[in-house]
Symmetry: C2
Subunit: 212 residues, 2 copies
Amino acid sequence: MAATPAGGTRVARGEARGRLLEAAVDLIRAQGLSATTVDDLCAAAGVTKGAFFHHFESKEALAVAAAQHWNTTTGAVFAAAAYHREATAAERVLAYVDLRSELIGGRPLEAVTCLVGTMVQEAYRSSPAVRDACGAAMLDHASTLEADLAEALADAGNPAGVDAPSLARHMIVVVQGAFVVAKAADDPLVAVESLGHLRRYLALLFGVAPFA
Amino acid sequence: MAATPAGGTRVARGEARGRLLEAAVDLIRAQGLSATTVDDLCAAAGVTKGAFFHHFESKEALAVAAAQHWNTTTGAVFAAAAYHREATAAERVLAYVDLRSELIGGRPLEAVTCLVGTMVQEAYRSSPAVRDACGAAMLDHASTLEADLAEALADAGNPAGVDAPSLARHMIVVVQGAFVVAKAADDPLVAVESLGHLRRYLALLFGVAPFA
DNA sequence: CGTAACATACCAACTGGTCGGTTTGTTTGT
DNA sequence: ACAAACAAACCGACCAGTTGGTATGTTACG
Protein backbone atom coordinates (compact mmCIF):
# COMPACT_ATOMS: atom_id res chain seq x y z
CA MET A 1 0.00 0.00 0.00
CA ALA A 2 1.35 3.39 -0.93
CA ALA A 3 1.92 6.06 1.64
CA THR A 4 0.13 8.62 -0.46
CA PRO A 5 -3.44 9.67 0.29
CA ALA A 6 -6.15 7.59 -1.34
CA GLY A 7 -8.40 9.42 -3.75
CA GLY A 8 -6.02 12.33 -4.07
CA THR A 9 -7.81 14.42 -1.45
CA ARG A 10 -5.08 16.00 0.57
CA VAL A 11 -5.78 16.74 4.18
CA ALA A 12 -5.71 20.34 5.36
CA ARG A 13 -2.89 21.47 7.51
CA GLY A 14 -3.39 20.84 11.22
CA GLU A 15 -5.79 17.97 10.76
CA ALA A 16 -3.29 15.15 10.36
CA ARG A 17 -3.09 14.17 14.01
CA GLY A 18 -6.82 14.05 14.51
CA ARG A 19 -7.42 12.12 11.33
CA LEU A 20 -4.77 9.59 12.26
CA LEU A 21 -6.43 9.04 15.63
CA GLU A 22 -9.81 8.48 14.00
CA ALA A 23 -8.30 6.15 11.43
CA ALA A 24 -6.62 4.27 14.28
CA VAL A 25 -9.92 3.80 16.08
CA ASP A 26 -11.62 2.49 12.95
CA LEU A 27 -8.86 0.20 11.74
CA ILE A 28 -7.71 -1.20 15.08
CA ARG A 29 -11.28 -1.96 16.10
CA ALA A 30 -11.74 -3.90 12.87
CA GLN A 31 -8.36 -5.60 12.45
CA GLY A 32 -6.59 -5.45 15.77
CA LEU A 33 -3.43 -3.53 16.58
CA SER A 34 -0.61 -5.56 15.11
CA ALA A 35 -2.54 -6.32 11.91
CA THR A 36 -2.93 -2.59 11.33
CA THR A 37 0.17 -1.18 9.68
CA VAL A 38 1.40 2.38 9.80
CA ASP A 39 0.91 2.55 6.04
CA ASP A 40 -2.72 1.44 6.49
CA LEU A 41 -3.27 4.23 8.98
CA CYS A 42 -1.65 6.84 6.77
CA ALA A 43 -3.67 5.79 3.74
CA ALA A 44 -6.94 5.83 5.72
CA ALA A 45 -6.16 9.23 7.21
CA GLY A 46 -4.99 10.68 3.91
CA VAL A 47 -1.54 11.61 5.19
CA THR A 48 2.00 10.46 4.62
CA LYS A 49 4.31 8.52 6.89
CA GLY A 50 6.28 11.65 7.51
CA ALA A 51 3.22 13.23 9.09
CA PHE A 52 2.63 10.11 11.15
CA PHE A 53 6.07 10.11 12.74
CA HIS A 54 6.00 13.85 13.15
CA HIS A 55 3.01 13.53 15.46
CA PHE A 56 3.74 10.17 17.08
CA GLU A 57 7.08 8.85 18.24
CA SER A 58 6.15 5.28 17.30
CA LYS A 59 3.25 3.07 16.42
CA GLU A 60 3.00 2.19 20.11
CA ALA A 61 2.71 5.88 21.01
CA LEU A 62 -0.17 6.20 18.55
CA ALA A 63 -1.89 3.24 20.19
CA VAL A 64 -1.63 4.90 23.59
CA ALA A 65 -2.97 8.17 22.18
CA ALA A 66 -5.78 6.30 20.41
CA ALA A 67 -6.84 4.66 23.69
CA GLN A 68 -6.97 8.07 25.36
CA HIS A 69 -8.81 9.57 22.40
CA TRP A 70 -11.31 6.70 22.54
CA ASN A 71 -11.82 7.27 26.24
CA THR A 72 -12.42 10.96 25.68
CA THR A 73 -14.88 10.62 22.80
CA THR A 74 -16.90 7.70 24.14
CA GLY A 75 -16.82 9.25 27.59
CA ALA A 76 -18.40 12.38 26.16
CA VAL A 77 -21.15 10.32 24.52
CA PHE A 78 -22.09 8.61 27.77
CA ALA A 79 -21.75 11.78 29.81
CA ALA A 80 -24.24 13.52 27.52
CA ALA A 81 -26.64 10.57 27.29
CA ALA A 82 -30.24 10.81 28.42
CA TYR A 83 -30.04 7.96 30.95
CA HIS A 84 -28.71 10.41 33.54
CA ARG A 85 -32.15 12.06 33.58
CA GLU A 86 -34.01 9.09 35.04
CA ALA A 87 -35.59 9.76 38.44
CA THR A 88 -34.03 7.02 40.56
CA ALA A 89 -30.51 5.64 40.67
CA ALA A 90 -31.79 2.15 39.83
CA GLU A 91 -33.58 3.48 36.77
CA ARG A 92 -30.45 5.33 35.64
CA VAL A 93 -28.36 2.18 35.86
CA LEU A 94 -30.92 0.09 33.98
CA ALA A 95 -31.27 2.82 31.37
CA TYR A 96 -27.49 2.71 30.90
CA VAL A 97 -27.76 -1.01 30.14
CA ASP A 98 -30.63 -0.30 27.74
CA LEU A 99 -28.53 2.34 25.99
CA ARG A 100 -25.74 -0.20 25.61
CA SER A 101 -28.19 -2.67 24.10
CA GLU A 102 -29.48 -0.09 21.64
CA LEU A 103 -25.94 0.87 20.62
CA ILE A 104 -25.17 -2.77 19.89
CA GLY A 105 -28.46 -3.93 18.40
CA GLY A 106 -28.74 -1.11 15.94
CA ARG A 107 -25.35 -1.60 14.35
CA PRO A 108 -23.64 -4.10 12.07
CA LEU A 109 -21.36 -6.62 13.71
CA GLU A 110 -18.16 -4.82 12.78
CA ALA A 111 -19.25 -1.87 14.91
CA VAL A 112 -19.89 -4.10 17.91
CA THR A 113 -16.46 -3.75 19.38
CA CYS A 114 -14.42 -1.71 21.82
CA LEU A 115 -11.05 -0.27 20.88
CA VAL A 116 -9.40 -0.75 24.24
CA GLY A 117 -10.84 -4.23 24.72
CA THR A 118 -9.47 -5.29 21.37
CA MET A 119 -6.07 -3.72 21.95
CA VAL A 120 -5.44 -4.87 25.49
CA GLN A 121 -5.62 -8.56 24.62
CA GLU A 122 -2.88 -8.09 22.06
CA ALA A 123 -0.70 -5.62 23.91
CA TYR A 124 -0.95 -6.39 27.61
CA ARG A 125 2.29 -8.36 27.52
CA SER A 126 4.28 -6.68 24.81
CA SER A 127 3.47 -3.08 25.70
CA PRO A 128 2.84 -1.97 29.28
CA ALA A 129 2.15 1.56 28.04
CA VAL A 130 -0.72 0.40 25.84
CA ARG A 131 -2.03 -1.91 28.55
CA ASP A 132 -2.05 0.91 31.09
CA ALA A 133 -3.82 3.25 28.69
CA CYS A 134 -6.47 0.61 27.99
CA GLY A 135 -6.83 -0.23 31.66
CA ALA A 136 -7.19 3.42 32.58
CA ALA A 137 -9.86 3.94 29.92
CA MET A 138 -11.86 0.92 31.02
CA LEU A 139 -11.67 1.55 34.74
CA ASP A 140 -12.33 5.24 34.21
CA HIS A 141 -15.56 4.39 32.43
CA ALA A 142 -16.47 1.91 35.15
CA SER A 143 -16.02 4.58 37.78
CA THR A 144 -18.66 6.77 36.11
CA LEU A 145 -21.22 4.12 37.09
CA GLU A 146 -20.23 3.80 40.72
CA ALA A 147 -22.25 6.63 42.21
CA ASP A 148 -25.57 5.48 40.75
CA LEU A 149 -24.78 1.88 41.67
CA ALA A 150 -23.98 2.76 45.26
CA GLU A 151 -27.17 4.79 45.55
CA ALA A 152 -29.33 2.11 43.94
CA LEU A 153 -27.88 -0.57 46.21
CA ALA A 154 -28.41 1.62 49.27
CA ASP A 155 -32.01 2.34 48.23
CA ALA A 156 -32.64 -1.40 48.13
CA GLY A 157 -31.04 -1.94 51.52
CA ASN A 158 -28.31 -3.96 49.83
CA PRO A 159 -29.02 -7.22 51.72
CA ALA A 160 -26.36 -9.10 49.77
CA GLY A 161 -23.70 -6.56 50.71
CA VAL A 162 -22.67 -5.97 47.12
CA ASP A 163 -19.72 -3.65 46.53
CA ALA A 164 -20.54 -0.84 44.07
CA PRO A 165 -17.07 -0.52 42.44
CA SER A 166 -16.94 -4.27 41.99
CA LEU A 167 -20.39 -4.25 40.41
CA ALA A 168 -19.34 -1.42 38.08
CA ARG A 169 -16.40 -3.49 36.90
CA HIS A 170 -18.71 -6.46 36.41
CA MET A 171 -20.87 -4.38 34.10
CA ILE A 172 -17.81 -3.59 31.98
CA VAL A 173 -16.88 -7.27 32.05
CA VAL A 174 -20.25 -8.21 30.57
CA VAL A 175 -19.98 -5.55 27.88
CA GLN A 176 -16.47 -6.62 26.90
CA GLY A 177 -17.35 -10.31 26.96
CA ALA A 178 -20.44 -9.62 24.89
CA PHE A 179 -18.25 -8.07 22.20
CA VAL A 180 -15.99 -11.11 22.13
CA VAL A 181 -18.75 -13.70 21.98
CA ALA A 182 -20.78 -11.71 19.45
CA LYS A 183 -17.79 -11.82 17.11
CA ALA A 184 -17.29 -15.53 17.70
CA ALA A 185 -20.96 -16.26 17.08
CA ASP A 186 -20.99 -13.78 14.18
CA ASP A 187 -24.17 -12.29 15.61
CA PRO A 188 -24.68 -9.06 17.59
CA LEU A 189 -27.85 -10.43 19.14
CA VAL A 190 -25.79 -12.65 21.41
CA ALA A 191 -24.41 -9.47 22.95
CA VAL A 192 -27.85 -7.95 23.40
CA GLU A 193 -29.04 -11.17 24.99
CA SER A 194 -26.24 -11.10 27.52
CA LEU A 195 -26.97 -7.49 28.41
CA GLY A 196 -30.50 -8.69 29.14
CA HIS A 197 -29.06 -11.05 31.75
CA LEU A 198 -26.99 -8.23 33.20
CA ARG A 199 -30.11 -6.09 33.37
CA ARG A 200 -32.01 -8.82 35.22
CA TYR A 201 -29.15 -9.30 37.71
CA LEU A 202 -29.10 -5.57 38.46
CA ALA A 203 -32.89 -5.44 38.78
CA LEU A 204 -32.78 -8.34 41.23
CA LEU A 205 -30.11 -6.58 43.30
CA PHE A 206 -32.08 -3.34 43.27
CA GLY A 207 -35.35 -5.05 44.11
CA VAL A 208 -37.17 -3.63 41.10
CA ALA A 209 -39.18 -5.34 38.36
CA PRO A 210 -36.77 -6.76 35.76
CA PHE A 211 -38.32 -5.22 32.67
CA ALA A 212 -40.49 -2.36 33.83
CA MET B 1 14.74 -15.21 15.15
CA ALA B 2 16.23 -18.36 13.67
CA ALA B 3 14.08 -21.27 12.59
CA THR B 4 16.32 -23.72 14.37
CA PRO B 5 15.33 -25.25 17.70
CA ALA B 6 16.28 -23.26 20.79
CA GLY B 7 18.57 -25.02 23.23
CA GLY B 8 19.58 -27.63 20.70
CA THR B 9 17.04 -30.20 21.85
CA ARG B 10 15.73 -31.77 18.71
CA VAL B 11 12.20 -33.07 18.72
CA ALA B 12 11.55 -36.76 18.14
CA ARG B 13 10.09 -37.77 14.84
CA GLY B 14 6.29 -37.68 14.70
CA GLU B 15 5.91 -35.11 17.46
CA ALA B 16 6.22 -31.98 15.35
CA ARG B 17 2.53 -31.43 14.74
CA GLY B 18 1.53 -31.81 18.37
CA ARG B 19 4.34 -29.62 19.61
CA LEU B 20 3.44 -26.92 17.12
CA LEU B 21 -0.15 -26.95 18.35
CA GLU B 22 0.95 -26.62 21.96
CA ALA B 23 3.36 -23.85 21.07
CA ALA B 24 0.55 -22.11 19.20
CA VAL B 25 -1.70 -22.26 22.26
CA ASP B 26 1.01 -20.83 24.51
CA LEU B 27 2.26 -18.09 22.20
CA ILE B 28 -1.05 -16.94 20.75
CA ARG B 29 -2.60 -16.76 24.21
CA ALA B 30 0.27 -14.55 25.31
CA GLN B 31 0.88 -12.40 22.23
CA GLY B 32 -2.13 -12.72 19.98
CA LEU B 33 -2.28 -14.30 16.55
CA SER B 34 -0.72 -11.78 14.21
CA ALA B 35 2.07 -10.91 16.63
CA THR B 36 3.05 -14.58 16.74
CA THR B 37 5.26 -15.40 13.77
CA VAL B 38 5.75 -18.76 12.15
CA ASP B 39 9.41 -18.61 13.16
CA ASP B 40 8.37 -17.98 16.77
CA LEU B 41 6.18 -21.07 16.67
CA CYS B 42 8.89 -23.22 15.11
CA ALA B 43 11.47 -22.07 17.66
CA ALA B 44 9.12 -22.71 20.58
CA ALA B 45 8.18 -26.14 19.24
CA GLY B 46 11.78 -27.08 18.47
CA VAL B 47 11.00 -27.62 14.81
CA THR B 48 11.96 -26.09 11.49
CA LYS B 49 9.79 -24.25 9.02
CA GLY B 50 9.88 -27.24 6.72
CA ALA B 51 8.08 -29.25 9.37
CA PHE B 52 5.60 -26.46 9.95
CA PHE B 53 4.49 -26.24 6.34
CA HIS B 54 4.58 -29.99 6.00
CA HIS B 55 1.84 -30.28 8.62
CA PHE B 56 -0.09 -27.04 8.01
CA GLU B 57 -0.99 -25.47 4.73
CA SER B 58 -0.66 -21.97 6.12
CA LYS B 59 -0.45 -19.99 9.32
CA GLU B 60 -4.21 -19.58 9.14
CA ALA B 61 -4.68 -23.35 8.92
CA LEU B 62 -2.58 -23.73 12.06
CA ALA B 63 -4.78 -21.18 13.83
CA VAL B 64 -7.89 -23.17 12.92
CA ALA B 65 -6.26 -26.39 14.11
CA ALA B 66 -5.12 -24.69 17.31
CA ALA B 67 -8.68 -23.57 18.06
CA GLN B 68 -9.92 -27.13 17.60
CA HIS B 69 -7.04 -28.50 19.67
CA TRP B 70 -7.86 -26.00 22.41
CA ASN B 71 -11.50 -27.01 22.33
CA THR B 72 -10.55 -30.69 22.61
CA THR B 73 -8.06 -30.34 25.47
CA THR B 74 -10.01 -27.85 27.57
CA GLY B 75 -13.21 -29.76 26.84
CA ALA B 76 -11.61 -32.88 28.27
CA VAL B 77 -10.60 -31.02 31.43
CA PHE B 78 -14.13 -29.78 32.07
CA ALA B 79 -15.70 -33.10 31.10
CA ALA B 80 -13.56 -34.87 33.71
CA ALA B 81 -13.99 -32.22 36.40
CA ALA B 82 -15.53 -33.01 39.75
CA TYR B 83 -18.34 -30.45 39.52
CA HIS B 84 -20.44 -32.98 37.57
CA ARG B 85 -20.72 -35.04 40.78
CA GLU B 86 -22.75 -32.49 42.73
CA ALA B 87 -26.20 -33.72 43.73
CA THR B 88 -28.45 -31.05 42.16
CA ALA B 89 -28.26 -29.27 38.84
CA ALA B 90 -28.04 -25.89 40.59
CA GLU B 91 -25.10 -27.09 42.63
CA ARG B 92 -23.36 -28.40 39.53
CA VAL B 93 -23.67 -25.06 37.77
CA LEU B 94 -22.43 -23.12 40.79
CA ALA B 95 -19.58 -25.59 41.21
CA TYR B 96 -18.65 -24.95 37.58
CA VAL B 97 -18.37 -21.24 38.35
CA ASP B 98 -16.30 -22.04 41.41
CA LEU B 99 -13.97 -24.19 39.32
CA ARG B 100 -13.57 -21.30 36.91
CA SER B 101 -12.70 -19.01 39.81
CA GLU B 102 -10.12 -21.45 41.13
CA LEU B 103 -8.56 -21.84 37.70
CA ILE B 104 -8.18 -18.07 37.44
CA GLY B 105 -7.28 -17.19 41.01
CA GLY B 106 -4.54 -19.75 41.33
CA ARG B 107 -2.62 -18.66 38.27
CA PRO B 108 -0.45 -15.74 37.17
CA LEU B 109 -2.09 -13.16 34.96
CA GLU B 110 -0.55 -14.44 31.74
CA ALA B 111 -2.44 -17.71 32.18
CA VAL B 112 -5.75 -15.90 32.65
CA THR B 113 -6.70 -15.99 29.02
CA CYS B 114 -8.58 -18.02 26.45
CA LEU B 115 -7.06 -18.91 23.10
CA VAL B 116 -10.22 -18.60 21.06
CA GLY B 117 -11.30 -15.40 22.80
CA THR B 118 -7.96 -13.82 22.03
CA MET B 119 -7.90 -15.01 18.43
CA VAL B 120 -11.44 -14.18 17.43
CA GLN B 121 -11.06 -10.46 18.11
CA GLU B 122 -8.15 -10.31 15.70
CA ALA B 123 -9.39 -12.70 13.05
CA TYR B 124 -13.17 -12.35 12.86
CA ARG B 125 -12.88 -10.01 9.90
CA SER B 126 -9.76 -11.15 8.13
CA SER B 127 -10.30 -14.89 8.43
CA PRO B 128 -13.77 -16.46 8.44
CA ALA B 129 -12.20 -19.89 8.93
CA VAL B 130 -10.54 -18.84 12.18
CA ARG B 131 -13.66 -17.01 13.33
CA ASP B 132 -15.81 -20.09 12.69
CA ALA B 133 -13.38 -22.35 14.53
CA CYS B 134 -13.36 -19.99 17.51
CA GLY B 135 -17.11 -19.61 17.44
CA ALA B 136 -17.61 -23.35 17.28
CA ALA B 137 -15.27 -23.90 20.21
CA MET B 138 -16.99 -21.29 22.36
CA LEU B 139 -20.54 -22.29 21.58
CA ASP B 140 -19.65 -25.95 21.92
CA HIS B 141 -18.41 -25.31 25.43
CA ALA B 142 -21.50 -23.26 26.22
CA SER B 143 -23.71 -26.15 25.12
CA THR B 144 -22.13 -28.44 27.71
CA LEU B 145 -23.73 -26.24 30.37
CA GLU B 146 -27.22 -26.19 28.92
CA ALA B 147 -28.61 -29.43 30.39
CA ASP B 148 -27.73 -28.52 33.98
CA LEU B 149 -28.97 -24.97 33.47
CA ALA B 150 -32.31 -26.13 32.06
CA GLU B 151 -32.75 -28.55 34.95
CA ALA B 152 -31.76 -26.01 37.59
CA LEU B 153 -34.14 -23.42 36.12
CA ALA B 154 -36.96 -25.98 35.99
CA ASP B 155 -36.30 -27.02 39.59
CA ALA B 156 -36.74 -23.39 40.64
CA GLY B 157 -39.94 -23.04 38.63
CA ASN B 158 -38.18 -20.49 36.40
CA PRO B 159 -40.54 -17.60 37.16
CA ALA B 160 -38.52 -15.19 35.03
CA GLY B 161 -38.79 -17.50 32.03
CA VAL B 162 -35.04 -17.56 31.45
CA ASP B 163 -33.80 -19.42 28.40
CA ALA B 164 -31.14 -22.03 29.24
CA PRO B 165 -29.05 -21.74 26.03
CA SER B 166 -29.07 -17.97 26.37
CA LEU B 167 -27.95 -18.25 29.98
CA ALA B 168 -25.17 -20.65 29.00
CA ARG B 169 -23.89 -18.11 26.48
CA HIS B 170 -24.07 -15.41 29.14
CA MET B 171 -21.82 -17.50 31.36
CA ILE B 172 -19.26 -17.67 28.56
CA VAL B 173 -19.64 -13.93 28.04
CA VAL B 174 -18.74 -13.25 31.66
CA VAL B 175 -15.73 -15.57 31.49
CA GLN B 176 -14.46 -13.96 28.29
CA GLY B 177 -15.09 -10.45 29.55
CA ALA B 178 -13.36 -11.28 32.81
CA PHE B 179 -10.23 -12.25 30.86
CA VAL B 180 -10.25 -8.96 28.97
CA VAL B 181 -10.78 -6.73 32.00
CA ALA B 182 -8.30 -8.69 34.12
CA LYS B 183 -5.63 -7.94 31.53
CA ALA B 184 -6.62 -4.29 31.35
CA ALA B 185 -6.57 -3.97 35.12
CA ASP B 186 -3.41 -6.09 35.30
CA ASP B 187 -5.02 -8.09 38.09
CA PRO B 188 -6.64 -11.57 37.95
CA LEU B 189 -8.72 -10.77 41.00
CA VAL B 190 -10.97 -8.56 38.88
CA ALA B 191 -11.93 -11.70 36.98
CA VAL B 192 -12.62 -13.67 40.15
CA GLU B 193 -14.73 -10.80 41.45
CA SER B 194 -16.84 -10.82 38.31
CA LEU B 195 -17.38 -14.56 38.52
CA GLY B 196 -18.70 -13.89 42.01
CA HIS B 197 -21.37 -11.67 40.49
CA LEU B 198 -22.20 -14.36 37.93
CA ARG B 199 -22.51 -16.86 40.75
CA ARG B 200 -24.90 -14.61 42.66
CA TYR B 201 -27.03 -14.06 39.55
CA LEU B 202 -27.30 -17.80 38.98
CA ALA B 203 -28.09 -18.45 42.63
CA LEU B 204 -30.85 -15.83 42.49
CA LEU B 205 -32.32 -17.46 39.38
CA PHE B 206 -32.14 -20.89 40.96
CA GLY B 207 -33.62 -19.69 44.25
CA VAL B 208 -30.71 -20.99 46.33
CA ALA B 209 -28.50 -19.24 48.88
CA PRO B 210 -25.80 -17.28 47.00
CA PHE B 211 -22.74 -18.66 48.80
CA ALA B 212 -23.85 -21.89 50.42
C1' DC C 1 5.30 48.04 9.61
C1' DG C 2 8.52 44.83 7.61
C1' DT C 3 11.51 41.24 7.61
C1' DA C 4 14.84 38.05 9.36
C1' DA C 5 14.99 34.15 12.38
C1' DC C 6 12.79 30.47 13.98
C1' DA C 7 9.24 26.70 14.71
C1' DT C 8 5.86 23.59 13.18
C1' DA C 9 3.67 20.62 9.87
C1' DC C 10 4.22 17.92 6.39
C1' DC C 11 6.11 15.17 2.21
C1' DA C 12 8.33 11.33 -0.70
C1' DA C 13 11.98 8.31 -1.15
C1' DC C 14 14.51 5.08 1.14
C1' DT C 15 16.59 1.42 4.55
C1' DG C 16 17.43 -2.53 7.31
C1' DG C 17 15.15 -6.04 8.80
C1' DT C 18 11.09 -9.36 9.19
C1' DC C 19 7.31 -11.90 7.38
C1' DG C 20 4.74 -15.97 5.37
C1' DG C 21 5.71 -19.15 2.26
C1' DT C 22 8.69 -22.08 -1.30
C1' DT C 23 12.22 -24.96 -2.91
C1' DT C 24 15.41 -28.36 -2.61
C1' DG C 25 17.72 -31.73 -0.20
C1' DT C 26 18.19 -35.28 3.69
C1' DT C 27 16.72 -38.64 7.07
C1' DT C 28 13.80 -42.37 8.81
C1' DG C 29 10.53 -45.99 9.19
C1' DT C 30 8.43 -49.87 6.52
C1' DA D 1 12.86 -48.78 -2.85
C1' DC D 2 9.52 -45.65 -1.46
C1' DA D 3 6.88 -42.28 0.88
C1' DA D 4 6.27 -39.59 4.79
C1' DA D 5 8.69 -36.53 7.94
C1' DC D 6 11.66 -33.40 8.42
C1' DA D 7 15.85 -29.77 7.62
C1' DA D 8 17.92 -25.64 5.65
C1' DA D 9 18.59 -22.22 2.48
C1' DC D 10 16.20 -19.02 0.15
C1' DC D 11 12.63 -15.41 -1.91
C1' DG D 12 9.65 -11.52 -2.81
C1' DA D 13 6.60 -8.69 -0.29
C1' DC D 14 5.99 -5.95 3.39
C1' DC D 15 6.90 -3.37 7.67
C1' DA D 16 8.34 0.21 11.19
C1' DG D 17 11.03 3.72 11.22
C1' DT D 18 14.59 7.34 9.02
C1' DT D 19 16.25 10.89 6.15
C1' DG D 20 16.63 15.21 3.92
C1' DG D 21 13.95 18.48 2.39
C1' DT D 22 9.78 21.90 1.61
C1' DA D 23 5.76 24.62 2.77
C1' DT D 24 3.43 27.28 6.17
C1' DG D 25 2.91 29.86 9.95
C1' DT D 26 4.80 32.63 14.26
C1' DT D 27 7.88 35.56 16.89
C1' DA D 28 10.98 39.31 17.72
C1' DC D 29 13.48 43.12 16.61
C1' DG D 30 14.77 47.51 14.06
